[in-house]
């Protein structure tokens, strides 16, 4: 697999309609000689949750920073609700609620006062949304407590509440489940789906692949600032992601036999081979190996999870070695 090329075809229709709440085109950010984001194209539509995945340092937060006008792009454009963030930043961000990776509020203010301070900045009916949002995020009882007394989970909830003050068309959440217990994580997943159900677009950057797998309609995987895969969860996990894990000693000969069956995707693993094939072909594989005098200890049908694909796509590149003779 070539990590420099997007591996999945986008079945997602590329219509440019008013439903589009975020679009970046050729977004580039260089910090000196380091290219943090390299020609990134992404889009988010109303009513969908798009996951932004990538290992640490992949450029997720930098991308979000550029979308929010916190970081100036070296090249490319970011449009929110059809407005270029560089040209009409304030207009563009009027329809965006964003929670950054590190949730920062005024430590001397209560949770309620912090939301009120943001609401005053937002204007409109934002002030009236403060108490309902505290209740929605389960902070009604602690709304009067100082922010500095909040646990990490409460801070995250307050951060999420702040994103909804402006009744945004686009919600950007950077690691929203950080510090939340499993029940809290589940609540946030449900909330994210609710947001999409309210016809908002959601861009979710997360390390929690389970969260992404269960919440997102589409995912974008970036590595070293480049888009390396995108599509629906099913597409990225290879339509359900069927493969066989074959435990066998003579991996080289087994691979030759399987290639003879027309199987193209074969990966060498420590205990044998992983082979992408239709789940109904298990018996055929077993028969072919046995006919060649190769006896597998196990042939186990598996389904790729997003985590498998993520690990596969983002694993560090091995240093190039001379071809085996």
């Amino acid at each position: 697999m070539n990590p420099t090329q997007p591996v999945m075809l986008r079945s997602y229709a590329r219509r440019v309609t008013e439903d589009q709440v975020l679009r970046t085109k050729g977004l580039v950010k260089k910090f000196g000689s380091i290219t943090a984001v390299d020609g990134l194209d992404l889009e988010v539509r109303r009513g969908e949750v798009v996951g932004l995945l990538g290992p640490n340092g992949a450029g997720k937060s930098t991308t979000i920073g550029m979308v929010l006008g916190l970081i100036s792009p070296t090249g490319g454009t970011a449009e929110v609700l059809g407005r270029d963030v560089r040209v009409r930043r304030e207009d563009a961000l009027a329809g965006v609620g964003a929670m950054l990776e590190v949730t920062s509020f005024y430590p001397y203010l209560s949770g309620r006062d912090n939301l009120a301070a943001v609401a005053l900045l937002r204007g409109g009916g934002a002030l009236a949304r403060v108490d309902p949002l505290l209740a929605r995020l389960g902070l009604a009882q602690r709304g009067g407590s100082k922010f500095r007394t909040y646990s990490l989970g409460m801070r995250q909830r307050l951060g999420i509440a702040s994103t909804l003050l402006a009744d945004p068309a686009l919600v950007i959440l950077d690691e929203p489940a950080n510090g939340l217990d499993p029940a809290g994580q589940r609540e946030i997943r449900e909330l994210i789906r609710e947001l999409a159900g309210e016809n908002r677009g959601v861009l979710l950057a997360s390390h929690l692949l389970y969260e992404v797998e269960h919440v997102c309609d589409r995912v974008l995987v970036i590595k070293k600032g480049k888009l390396i895969a995108s599509g629906t969860i099913a597409e990225v996990t290879r339509g359900g992601g069927n493969y066989f894990e074959i435990v066998i000693d003579d991996k080289r000969r087994a691979a030759e036999v399987l290639r003879g069956l027309g199987i193209k995707e074969i990966r060498e693993m420590p205990t044998g081979l992983d082979v992408v094939a239709d789940p109904t072909h298990g018996a055929e594989i077993n028969r072919a190996l046995a006919s060649a005098g190769l006896y597998a200890s196990a042939i186990v049908p598996r389904a790729s999870s997003l985590e498998d694909v993520f690990m596969e796509l983002t694993e560090p590149e091995a240093p190039s070695a001379p071809p085996a003779s």
Binding site: L68, S72, V102, R122
Partner: protein, 292 residues
């Protein structure tokens, strides 16, 4: 812009620091007046009792100092106290008001919620000027109150009472001289993303520049041509004119070389603009990552 200013003021009035500083200037005014009265009275009593020898020039100077407490001297004495302590406190406040936004990471939060960088700076500057105004008014009123209270206790004649117009004029000019130092502290806080650096730079310039300027002019009056473009000499020129020869700089042997007050006001205004523009230039060109 107005929304950001409203948010700024909402946060400002809920912070302890500005209230503590206001309380401090009120308490300081009363304590200062009381201490002056108590120490002069004690000295006069000691001279009278023969506990200490009388000064060669007699007790006239002590009596004159005691008269500074009277309400009709508030414009010189009371406002001087507020200006002396207030300038330091407002430098600290200005740096803290801006620098903590970077330390807490809230600058980034504000921007993420749609605030503009220019709006942030304007809101900070306007709120600082408003706070300085409130600070001067409260401090001056405290000085007036302390003057009447201590004069009543000491049995000092109120004389013609407080000349409110004169006090307001003196306080306004003194307050004006704080602004470039506050702007400097703000600019350094923005550049360094640190309240501490803003405080340190503001205070160092406030104290050291004046000292260096005075030394240089004492050595050679021609140096006034150079140091009169600095902050301290122009601030001194304004405060000297507000309080006349009896003002805080009356002891300054280099006073005759101070710049013209009008020019001083313009120079201080230009410094304010320069510091704010530098802060804005840095703010708009900076990528805001974690913290700010």
């Amino acid at each position: 812009m107005l929304r950001l200013l409203r948010s700024e003021l909402y946060r400002l009035v809920r912070r302890w620091m500005p209230w503590i500083m206001l309380g401090l200037i009120v308490v300081t005014a009363f304590v200062f007046y009381f201490l002056i009265w108590a120490s002069i009275t004690a000295q006069l009593q000691a001279v009278k009792n023969g506990t200490i020898p009388a000064p060669p020039e007699g007790t006239a100077q002590l009596t004159e100092t005691l008269r500074q407490i009277a309400p009709n001297r508030v414009a010189q004495f009371g406002v001087g106290i507020v200006a002396g302590l207030g300038s330091v406190m407002l430098i600290v406040f200005a740096a803290s008001h801006v620098g903590t936004e970077f330390g807490w990471g809230t600058f980034r939060t504000l921007l993420a919620h749609g605030a503009s960088r220019s709006g942030f700076l304007v809101a900070k500057t306007v709120s600082l000027v408003l706070y300085a105004l409130v600070f001067i008014v409260v401090g001056t009123l405290a000085a007036i109150g302390a003057s009447y209270a201590v004069s009543a206790v000491a049995g000092i004649s109120f004389g013609t009472g407080v000349d409110l117009a004169e006090v307001a004029r003196v306080a306004a000019k003194s307050g004006y001289t704080f602004l470039p130092y506050m702007a400097l502290a703000l600019a350094i806080a923005v550049w360094s993303k640190s309240a501490g650096a803003g405080i340190a730079a503001g205070l160092v310039v406030y104290f050291a520049e004046g000292l260096v300027a005075t030394i240089l002019v004492s050595l050679n009056k021609d140096y006034a041509q150079i140091v009169n473009w600095g902050l301290s000499r122009n601030a001194s020129a304004l405060t000297r004119t507000v309080s006349g020869q009896a003002g805080p700089t009356s002891q300054d042997p280099t006073a005759s070389t101070l710049p013209d007050p009008t020019r001083a006001a313009i120079v201080l205004g230009v410094y304010c603009v320069i510091f704010i523009v530098l802060a804005y230039w840095r703010l708009r060109s900076r990528d805001v990552t974690v913290g700010g």
